[in-house]
């Protein structure tokens, strides 16, 4: 394509781009400004501009020629370079140039009284993150150290500082926060989230509900995930449920992401999802876990965990799911109890350890007396079983009333 471009045409296109940019800033037209900043969308217009820049070589001269453009030169010069570099897949340079342009743009934005360009800031924040991610993938595939995302993190932190004050720009703070969350989660530096969260949640001058819904959902999703890491399941349940409730129903991918965490959290609170939910959102990896919970099938649970170990580890729910083991034990004991009740209703509340061992053996799980005694002790200790264990006779004596209390939304052990 570039080959067929005439010099004049190239100049015209670059001028067109510059003109549009300057006009949109002048007229505070966020819509067109956004499109001009969106590098990674591969819009035909920007691609053409990129080719033109490659052809013309001295695009910067065009900027300096005109008074109109030269005011924005600090933004435009690196921006053109970013567009060009991105076009030729030189992502590291593209990121670098774009960060420069973005920095200049943010400085401009800081000086504007109104927040008209907030949407453009969103685009910048998004673009910088995506560019950084892509640049890092490319860098690491080339064997170089990927540090662009980290740089993007600190840049966005600066942007956050610009927005987080009082005034109309504050609305944009949550968006940047969410972009930061994405970066931090990707980098595995979630501890950095804390400071951002603090400044969002402690600011009393600004009600959380005033933020855009989109950002609220994202924010709740990430903070919910953080609570999963903290094993604070009620809080995680609250946040993720909020996200699910406010999430746009048509954004199924987002709903799935939320459910991916919400389901394990709910499971650990003793609430099981319906099968259709798993199927609808393609979360079948949980189905075996849920089955195991329903049947008291320890082996199934372990298999399910083993099968999806990598996935669960990466998403961070592995430990949550592993803790379901006790609930599976509870279910198993409950089943034995039910069977005993059928056979000998009078002695049903006495569970012999041997029976439990036999049941486990039937599940191909080999455990000795001490271990099972330990499990039972833990179950009683965690309130999953009501009763006591008689060590001498190796018998679990169950309470006559509600020997297997349900969790129903309360965390285990409470």
């Amino acid at each position: 394509m570039a080959a067929y471009l005439s010099m004049g045409e190239a100049h015209r296109r670059i001028n067109d781009y510059l003109n549009r940019f300057a006009d949109s800033v002048m007229s505070q037209d966020v819509g067109s400004l956004k499109s001009l900043l969106t590098l990674t969308a591969d819009s035909p217009f920007l691609l053409a501009v990129a080719d033109s820049i490659s052809l013309v070589q001295d695009g910067n001269r065009l900027i300096k020629q005109s008074e109109k453009y030269s005011q924005l030169a600090e933004i435009l010069v690196p921006l053109l370079r970013a567009i060009q570099c991105y076009r030729v897949n030189n992502l590291a340079d593209a990121y670098h140039a774009f960060e420069k342009a973005a920095n200049a743009f943010v400085q401009e934005f800081r000086n504007w009284d109104s927040a008209w360009a907030l949407d453009a800031i969103y685009v910048v924040a998004y673009e910088i993150r995506v560019l950084a991610e892509r640049a890092d993938t490319k860098l690491s595939s080339e064997g170089k150290s990927p540090e662009k995302l980290k740089a993007a993190g600190s840049f966005l932190m600066k942007v956050f500082g610009v927005l987080a004050g009082k005034g109309p720009k504050r609305v944009g703070a949550l968006y940047v926060t969410c972009q930061l969350f994405k970066i931090y989660f990707k980098l595995g530096t979630v501890h950095l989230c804390r400071s951002v969260i603090r400044s969002i949640e402690t600011a009393r001058i600004f009600d959380f509900e005033e933020f855009p819904n989109r950002d609220k959902v994202t924010y709740m999703y990430y903070t919910g995930r953080l609570e999963v890491f903290n094993e604070n399941f009620p809080a995680a349940d609250h946040k993720l449920s909020y996200a699910l409730k406010h999430c746009n129903l048509r954004k199924e991918a987002n709903i799935r992401m939320i459910l991916k965490y919400l389901i394990p959290v709910k499971l650990s609170l003793g609430i099981l999802p319906r099968d259709w939910l798993l199927e609808k959102y393609n979360l079948v990896e949980y189905s075996k876990v849920i089955q195991a919970l329903q049947r008291g099938d320890l082996r199934l649970l372990r298999n399910a965990l083993e099968e999806n170990e990598d996935r669960f580890l990466r998403s961070g729910v592995y430990l949550v799911l592993e803790k379901l083991e006790l609930q599976v034990y509870q279910r198993l004991l409950k089943k034995i109890y039910a069977i005993q009740k059928l056979k000998e209703p009078g002695k049903a509340h006495q569970l012999k350890l041997e029976v439990i061992i036999k049941a486990l053996k039937w599940l191909e799980i080999d455990m000795d007396l001490d271990e099972v005694e330990c499990i039972v002790a833990i179950l009683i200790h965690r309130n999953l079983v009501k009763g006591y264990f008689a060590h001498k006779s190796k018998v679990v004596v169950l309470s006559k009333q509600d020997p297997f209390p349900k969790l129903t939304g309360k965390p285990m052990g409470s």
């Binding site: 580890l313 430990l319 271990e371 330990c374 002790a377 009683i380």
Partner: protein
């Protein structure tokens, strides 16, 4: 000082005073002063006052005055030669600029920092109309305000002024030396100004010099002689006058009178003596002392003084030097000449200067300078020469004053007065020296028989004046020596400058056996001075003392006093006090602070050293070995600076400086480095390998091994060795640390190993992966870390026994499965159990709480002991019962310690009453608890646990 001021009729305007002074200055030959002793006494003070004139009006007046005076002077003098230079001074600045342009360039190339000059420049701009005031103003605008005042005073006044000038120029010198890089550090001064500013500065100096010439011209020949003899006495007079404000008039007058006399009829002898002295110094030139100060400046001085008998020689010498230096700095000659003239004039003015040559330190400098000039003006610091020379002057003066100050500081005032009086009547160095010797004896005797403080010194008759003729030859040298020794100490210092000088001075004592008389005093100098300054309530008396004793002091005081004229001679005591207290601050710096500053400024020092002493960096290093605690850094840096010119420390290519050890010692104690490593104490890799073996086979305790391993690690690090040996050392150390539960050390090793493994260096990766997992699980409890660790485990790793064990432990811990945990504890591979060990107690407590809640009614302790790992693995092989019972007791003890309720059942077996215990369990305070929370840091306990 106030008193001095008061001596003048209140009506007298500063300008007038200056006039008088000026006259005197210009006609130094005849010394009109002699007639007016009072004024003479006030003289030193006076200079001070003038110098204080701040940028504004006083300097102006001075300038104007100067102009007037100069022409006649010129006429009267035979200084036709100097006429040209004079004209230079009086001509427009612009001309000067042109002339010095070149010079400036050369300076730059030699790596001058511009810092010092920037200030000047700005000042210059501020007062462009007043060429003389410029330097002053400039200086003031810079941080170092006082020097500015000095430069001003130079013109208006004589000796003291000259000193001042010296000072300013001197001050300028060190700063200019700083490498440009350091400018930032100097931020207080105007770093922002560009190098170009140096130029104007230069002009000003040139002007100064020109003027100096003029003044010198008249005195030239005579002066050189006269000054030599007289100066000493004058000096002492000055200092004394300063010292003892109570009797300022008398001593000063006395001092001056002889001066005049001698001036008129210069005694031939002193000059001869001086000459000898000089010779001696020249000889001393040798090497040895390499000062920080610019030697070149002194060399200049030396030349004139040395040549003084035959002054005509001087220019020639200059020329030769000049020619050589010409190569590099075309402008040098000019400055040279100027400086030369200054020197001469200096001779006239600063009585004290005569002593300069005597000081071994300076002598060495001189020698150096000389060599330089004669040889090839080595790095051609001509500018410095001229500049620095005056400094010497100043110093001497100061030294003098200090000397006496110090001496008398500890003594009653009356005694001081006595000494002053005694010295005041002396003519020339020789006499002073002799008198001092006598006095010292007197004082010593007085001290010995306890009458020092009781005797009425005021009434004490003066001892007969010693015979100078006899004494002069022998005594002159020592005296001047003493004076000189001091001078390095007294150098004007910025707060940034290191205190090295003081050290130097201190150390010069032992070196110079010459410090015959005043060695003792000298040593005391710094401290005494401080004490003196501190203790003196009588600021008026002491004002001069501190100023003399410390460059900053002086400046501060001077400045304050400089304001006096402006305030119509009404300076208040408070002001003075302010000044001195201000300056006290610096004097009172704690030793630590001084050290800090020293080290901070060391790099500047280095940089400067490089510039100044480029020609002889090596000797410098050698010399400094004695002066500074010897540091490898010095070598490395000086080397680096040698070839890198003005590079800042930060820019040094450390790669090129990576140490290659040469030490063959296998055993080495660990000492945390505080400077760059010295290759002589670093072991190369082969030796380190032996050292590792030695540690491995050592039977000594952990502390010893840890120490050795740390030193090995250090040697590896400084040599940047990262290979299997490095991994091995860290692994050994980590295991040892685990063994004795030294978690801090273990963590260090573990984190190092992590990066080493990541670099692909082979080692026991799996073993330490397992350790890593275990410590995250058991100690940090960071779920996020744990997850990322687990997710990064390769399938190979998961097959590894140690890793699998660690993962199983994790499972047991997260589920609270104590049975599993203690089974794993017993079967732990490698040193996994060592990490688990630290968690065992917690796990036991968790288990017992769990058991107490779930089991009814009782649980046998034997079961608990078995389940909670109180039985030892050894028990399994044989002697089962015995060992088990051991475990039982231990378990029962542990349970009791945690508040469990134990009962005996019918069969006599100890049982845990779970229901009763459930509410009484608690975690006892650890017996080895320490205030700082880490028991492993308690030395006694640590030693007890360490397998020796």
């Amino acid at each position: 000082m106030n008193q001095r001021e008061k001596l003048f009729p209140p009506g007298t305007s500063p300008l007038e005073d200056r006039h008088v002074l000026e006259v005197r200055h210009d006609q130094s030959t005849s010394y009109p002063y002699s007639g007016t002793p009072t004024e003479a006494s006030s003289w030193p003070t006076y200079g001070v006052d003038n110098s204080h004139t701040q940028n504004g009006f006083p300097s102006n007046s001075t300038y104007g005055y100067e102009q007037h005076v100069l022409p006649p002077q010129k006429d009267s003098v035979n200084g036709a030669t100097e006429a040209s230079s004079l004209s230079l001074g009086s001509t427009s600045i612009g001309q000067d600029y042109n002339g010095y342009m070149t010079y400036q360039n050369s300076t730059d190339s030699s790596g001058y920092g511009n810092t010092g000059y920037t200030g000047y420049y700005s000042g210059y701009q501020q007062q462009p109309q007043n060429s003389y005031a410029q330097p002053v103003a400039a200086y003031q605008s810079t941080n170092y305000q006082s020097p500015a005042g000095y430069s001003n005073s130079n013109y208006s006044n004589q000796t003291s002024q000259w000193n001042g000038t010296t000072y300013s120029s001197y001050t300028q010198y060190p700063y200019s030396n700083y490498p440009p890089a350091s400018t930032s550090a100097y931020s207080s001064s105007n770093a922002s100004v560009s190098s170009a500013h140096y130029q104007p500065q230069y002009n000003q100096w040139a002007e100064h010099y020109a003027q100096a010439e003029v003044s010198c011209a008249p005195g030239t020949e005579k002066l050189s002689v006269t000054a030599a003899s007289l100066v000493e006495s004058v000096n002492s007079g000055i200092s004394h006058g300063t010292m003892i404000s109570n009797q300022p008039t008398a001593p000063v007058a006395a001092t001056w009178k002889p001066d005049t006399g001698s001036l008129e009829v210069p005694p031939p002898q002193p000059s001869g003596t001086v000459g000898i002295g000089y010779d001696a110094y020249w000889k001393q030139t040798t090497s040895g002392y390499l000062n920080h100060h610019t030697p070149s400046g002194q060399s200049n001085y030396l030349q004139p003084s040395g040549a003084k008998a035959a002054y005509s020689n001087y220019p020639e010498e200059q020329k030769s030097a000049y020619n050589q230096s010409n190569m590099q700095y075309p402008q040098v000659p000019q400055s040279h000449q100027l400086s030369g003239q200054i020197n001469t004039s200096a001779t006239i003015q600063s009585v004290s200067r005569v002593q300069i040559p005597t000081n071994p330190r300076i002598v060495s400098n001189l020698a150096l300078g000389l060599t330089k000039t004669e040889k090839a003006a080595p790095e051609g610091k001509p500018a410095y020469m001229s500049v620095s020379f005056p400094k010497t002057n100043e110093k001497t003066l100061m030294g003098d004053a200090t000397n006496s100050t110090l001496k008398h500081g500890a003594f009653p005032k009356s005694l001081r007065g006595y000494v002053e009086r005694a010295l005041a009547r002396c003519k020339g160095d020789a006499q002073i020296a002799a008198s001092q010797a006598v006095m010292k004896e007197i004082i010593t005797n007085a001290t010995a028989d306890g009458t020092l403080h009781t005797r009425d010194w005021d009434a004490e008759p003066l001892f007969p004046l010693p015979d100078v003729d006899n004494l002069s030859k022998e005594s002159l040298t020592p005296i001047s020596l003493r004076l000189f020794k001091k001078s390095p100490t007294r150098r004007t210092k910025s707060r940034w400058e290191p205190l090295a000088e003081e050290k130097l001075a201190g150390e010069s004592i032992p070196k110079n056996n010459n410090a015959i008389r005043y060695g003792g005093w000298k040593q005391a100098t710094a401290r005494d001075q401080k004490a003196l300054v501190d203790s003196s309530e009588d600021k008026e008396d002491m004002v001069q003392a501190p100023s003399i004793s410390n460059g900053e002091h002086k400046f501060a005081n001077f400045q304050k006093r400089f304001k006096k004229p402006r305030l119509s001679v009404n300076i208040t005591a408070t002001e003075n006090e302010d000044a001195s207290s201000d300056s006290d601050k610096d004097v009172n710096l704690t030793a630590e602070e001084r050290k800090k500053r020293e080290s901070r400024s060391k790099r500047f020092d280095k940089g400067r050293g490089n510039h100044v002493e480029k020609g002889y960096v090596k000797p410098k290093v050698a010399g400094s070995a004695n002066l500074y605690p010897r540091r490898a850094t010095a070598q490395v840096l000086s080397k680096a600076l040698d070839d890198s010119g003005s590079r800042a420390v930060e820019d040094i290519d450390w790669d090129a400086l990576t140490v290659r050890g040469t030490s063959q010692e296998i055993e080495k104690r660990y000492l945390r480095l505080t400077s760059a490593p010295d290759p002589a104490t670093v072991r190369p890799e082969e030796v380190l390998e032996k050292a590792v073996l030695m540690v491995q086979n050592s039977q000594k305790n952990y502390l010893y091994k840890c120490d050795q391993l740390k030193s090995i690690r250090q040697d590896l690090t400084v040599q940047r060795i990262r290979n299997h040996l490095t991994v091995k050392v860290y692994e050994i150390h980590a295991r040892l640390a685990l063994e004795v539960r030294d978690l801090a050390e273990y963590n260090q090793c573990q984190s190092q190993l992590k990066t080493l493994y990541a670099e692909g260096i082979e080692g026991c990766h799996m073993e330490f992966t397992a350790y890593g997992l275990l410590s995250v699980i058991l100690h940090s409890h960071n779920i996020r870390d744990l997850l990322s660790l687990m997710s990064r485990l390769s399938s190979d790793a998961k097959q590894n026994d140690a890793v699998r064990h660690a993962l199983a432990v994790r499972r047991a811990v997260t589920s609270g499965n104590y049975v599993m945990f203690f089974r794993l504890y017993k079967t732990a591979p490698n040193m996994n159990s060592c990490i688990m060990d630290q968690y065992a107690d917690k796990m036991r407590y968790r288990a017992v709480t769990c058991i107490c809640k779930s089991h009814r009614p009782t649980v046998p302790v034997s079961y608990i002991a078995q389940v909670l790992g109180f039985t030892h693995t050894v028990a399994a092989t044989d002697g089962n019962d015995e060992k088990e019972s051991d475990g039982l007791e231990e378990c029962a003890g542990w349970l009791k310690a945690h508040g469990a309720c134990l009962i005996s059942d019918n069969s006599g077996e100890t049982q845990l009453d779970s229901k009763a215990s459930a509410s009484t369990l608690y975690v006892p305070e650890p017996e080895d608890a320490v205030a700082h929370g880490d028991a492993s840091l308690a030395v006694d306990d640590f030693l007890a646990r360490a397998p020796s």
